[in-house]
């Protein structure tokens, strides 16, 4: 286990290093920087003035110099720098945003699993029945509907039909849990449908496979109750690939949350990233991307650990 964790830690550091270099270069290779936004329309601004501001912001030297300066500050001082746009330190901006996105993602995953697991099981157990067709159709729709479209539809629907909208300013779960729930339930629903569909279809396929295996037949022949066979024997094994998929989905959910956060006015990580990209706010883009990559890597490590717990045949030491 220790070896496994050390290996994964090294891989995580390598991944984050690669991500940091890639994103660092990508944002700088995009046409335009914050200077072109600050000075847009200022016909009297000279190149000297622009270069002075570049120097003030630390984007005037070579890429190597800029990268080592930026990475050094993070590594040795834990300082992600200041936003070019607002001048505010990045850490509190992301600290505020990550709460919002984390809550959204957790709620989204919960909604997805809450519906996907029963639907997947029913669909497999009652194969080719009306319930199966219904569940498969739900899965097909879930895969086909873009989250941002559903989010817009929900906003329009609730405002037109019920003359109601979720709160549009962020309310923390500790200050008002019910208001917080009403604020997050619709965006979480919007981002969950794709994951719900994927997990449901995956679970159906694996359940169908597991239900035909010998040990399940043996359990039934021994007189084990049907419910116990389904839940303890079949579902537990069928969930192994589902856990993998759910782990990957966290990354996609963060990406999908960006637009949904904007629609529901939730200033989360994705919301900040979208705005940072349009404003060429390098420090905010880089920090946000690193954060997303770190979450992705950590979640996948956790998935590997859970894998071992679900299936004793798989040892993390291997």
């Amino acid at each position: 286990m220790t070896t496994f964790l050390i290996r994964r830690f090294i891989a995580m550091v390598a991944t984050l290093f690669a991500v940091s270099v890639t994103i660092f270069l990508m944002v700088r290779l995009m046409t335009g920087d914050i200077i072109s936004i600050i000075f847009f329309g200022d016909e009297a601004a000279t190149d000297e003035q622009k270069n002075l501001v570049r120097k003030q912001l630390g984007i005037d030297g070579s890429y190597y110099h800029q990268y080592t300066h930026w990475a050094g500050r993070i590594l040795f001082h834990g300082d992600f720098g200041n936003s070019f746009q607002s001048g505010q330190p990045i850490a509190p901006i992301l600290g505020h945003a990550i709460h919002i996105t984390a809550e959204l993602i957790v709620l989204g995953i919960l909604i997805a699993l809450l519906f996907a697991i029963p639907l997947g099981v029913i669909s497999a157990v009652k194969r080719d029945s009306a319930a199966d067709y219904g569940a498969r159709l739900t899965g097909l729709i879930g895969i086909s509907i873009p989250g941002f479209w559903l989010a817009t539809l929900l906003i329009i629907f609730t405002s037109r039909v019920f003359n109601w909208l979720p709160p549009l300013l962020y309310v923390s779960i500790t200050s008002d849990p019910w208001k917080n729930f009403t604020q997050f339930i619709f965006p979480a629903l919007s981002i969950s449908v794709f994951t719900l569909a994927i997990v449901m279809r995956m679970l159906r396929a694996t359940m169908l496979e597991v239900l035909n295996l010998d040990y399940v037949r043996t359990a039934r022949a021994k007189g084990v109750p049907r419910r116990t066979v389904l839940i303890k024997h079949a579902l537990r094994n069928a969930l192994i690939p589902v856990v993998t998929v759910a782990g990957f989905e966290v990354g996609y959910l963060i990406a999908g949350a960006a637009i949904v956060e904007t629609i529901f006015n939730l200033p989360g990580v994705g919301y900040n990233l979208l705005h940072a990209i349009s404003q060429r706010d390098y420090p905010l883009i880089e920090a946000t991307t690193l954060l997303i990559a770190a979450v992705f890597v950590v979640v996948n490590t956790l998935v590997d650990l859970v894998y071992g717990m679900l299936d004793p045949r798989i040892s993390v030491a291997d």
Binding site: G32, S36, D42, S159, L165, L169
Partner: protein, 545 residues
């Protein structure tokens, strides 16, 4: 579409722009003039009190901002959205009324004391929202920071800054502004207020001005600005305009998605917001909302570069003129803006008397005249050519206008390739002159000079856009004279002449001035669409329930 323009505040106490500039004009002659800008304070106060009795007071308005201000510090080359985030609390020595007439604000009067100096008398008894009096030192401190803005303002707004050399205190409540040279731009720069706020002396060392601030405006900050979330204001109990503001508070949530703003307007969660022309059409007729629209300084134009050492068909003026006459602006207004818009020259339509009239534009300078366009192409010996037109990818109207231009110009043999770019890319290419043709937008300027400054060889951008242009002595002369001619009666003909010459040169081809759309709850009164692109109407707005 039913819509209405609300009237301006009943409290407006106008001093005409022309009147004020007429006084300023005497600066050029070196005369000492008492700028009796303010009407007698007592008369105004009693009038205000009479009016205030008829207007309901109290209540809170929630107005959604469509873009995050990023910060609310007053100084530096700030975003328009930054001004949206602080305009309720900051003011300057002068201000504009809704029709761009100059009015006194923090300064109750001014006196032209020499060719290159103006004395401003600070209004008696005026205080900041914390109750501290406004002094000459506050004014000097503020103007110093405008020229050299501290963080988060990263740069002075160079092209907007007039030639202010320095300020000195004459008395504790009067300042003398010394100019490097006579400069007619100074009044508009101050009255626009975008870059000329007055703040307490030393405030940058005591507060985080990115999220906090103190001013003399009708409202003061409640808490601090929260990025990507909100900025809220409450009534300033020390406000100097009698009876104002009517509202107790204004909250500005930041809602960037238009569908969400429209939904929030429907449900009454917000009292007002800016929307697109399509958004306005979508919500029009919904209960409890009123759709407002008005011309703003934002206009669209087609811009061409002329570079040295190259030969392109449009380097021939006749080809540029052909392009101008081949564009059907009426069709653009109809197709892209649902019929709401106006022809624009190089100066934004509606910018006081400094523009060519709509009649002159429609029937002469920007007339849709295909036969003339074809004959000009023929005279230039050009049968057609390919050109790339870069424009913004958002908002949608740019792509729509570009498509119509492409269609129009195909009739005179010009094959236009449209390249949409995001704002940062477009800005980078535009400021580097790395384009052939741009479909771009211009915005508000403190002074008419801001719309034509780039045609002068001394402008930094001239070398990137027009270095290969043979030049036009009339243009150069008019820009120089217009800047230093302080008598508006003499200044106006200079710009009328300049407008015509530039309309003939067609380096930048004015297209259309667009309407701005704002939707308000019917309980919100006295709001209007400000020409400046700010939400100034909220300062004097009130609610009926």
């Amino acid at each position: 579409m039913s819509d209405k323009q609300t009237e301006s505040s009943p409290l407006e106490r106008e001093v005409s722009r022309r009147g004020l500039l007429a006084k300023a004009g005497k600066l050029g002659a070196g005369a000492l003039v008492a700028g009796a800008v303010a009407a007698p304070a007592e008369a105004a106060r009693s009038k205000a009190q009479r009016v205030a009795k008829t207007v309901p007071t109290g209540g809170t308005v929630t107005w959604a901002l469509e873009q995050d201000p990023a910060f609310i510090a007053p100084f530096g080359a700030t975003l328009t959205a930054s001004r949206w985030g602080n305009e309720m609390m900051y003011e300057s020595l002068l201000e504009w009324d809704p029709k761009l007439n100059l009015k006194p604000a923090i300064a109750e009067s001014y006196k032209v004391s020499s060719k290159k100096s103006i004395d401003f008398q600070i209004r008696k008894g005026i205080t900041f929202s914390d109750g501290s009096p406004v002094t000459a030192n506050d004014v000097i401190y503020s103007f110093n920071l405008q020229a050299a803005p501290p963080a988060p303002g990263t740069s002075a707004p160079t092209s907007q800054l007039p030639a202010i050399d320095h300020l000195e205190a004459i008395t504790p409540t009067a300042v003398r502004m010394h100019l490097k040279q006579p400069d007619a731009r100074v009044y508009g720069y101050i009255a626009w207020q975008r870059y000329s706020s007055i703040v307490p002396n030393g405030i940058y060392s005591t507060k985080n001005m990115a999220v906090d601030g103190i001013g003399t405006g009708p409202f003061m900050l409640k808490g601090t600005y929260v990025s990507n979330d909100h900025v809220n204001f409450v009534k300033n109990p020390h406000y100097w305009k009698p009876g104002l503001p009517y509202l107790d508070a204004i909250n500005f949530p930041i809602i960037t998605d238009e569908q969400t703003r429209l939904a929030a307007l429907r449900t009454g969660q917000i009292d007002g917001a800016t929307v697109s022309v399509d958004g306005a059409a979508a919500i029009n007729g919904a209960p409890n909302v009123t759709v407002l629209h008005g011309l703003t300084a934002a206009f669209r134009e087609l811009q061409m570069t002329i570079k040295p050492g190259q030969t392109k068909p449009w380097y021939d003026k006749r080809v540029r003129q052909a392009v101008n006459f081949a564009i059907n602006r009426a069709n653009i207004i109809k197709q892209v803006y649902n019929g709401y818009g106006q022809y624009s020259g190089v100066v934004a339509a509606g910018y006081g008397p400094w523009v060519l009239s709509d009649d002159q534009l429609q029937n002469k300078y920007e007339k849709y005249d295909l036969p003339t366009a074809k004959s000009l192409m023929k005279a230039a010996g050009v049968s057609g050519f390919d050109v790339t037109l870069t424009t913004f990818s958002t908002p949608n109207d740019f792509a729509a206008i570009a498509a119509l231009i492409k269609s129009d110009l195909s009739q005179i043999g010009i094959n236009v390739s449209i390249v949409p770019q995001d704002t940062a890319s477009f800005g980078a290419n535009n400021s580097a002159g790395a384009f052939d043709w741009d479909l771009t937008a211009r915005g508000m300027r403190g002074d008419v000079d801001g719309y034509v400054a780039e045609y002068h060889p001394a402008a930094a951008i001239y070398g990137k856009w027009f270095a290969g242009w043979a030049g036009n002595k009339t243009v150069f002369r008019d820009i120089g004279n217009g800047r230093i001619t302080l008598d508006p009666a003499k200044r106006l003909p200079i710009y009328q002449d300049l407008n015509k010459v530039l309309a003939d040169e067609c380096l930048e081809i004015g297209l259309v001035s667009v309407s701005k759309w704002q939707v308000v709850n019917t309980r919100l009164k006295n709001m209007y669409v400000a020409f400046t692109d700010f939400n100034t109407g909220l300062r004097n707005a009130y609610v009926t329930k």
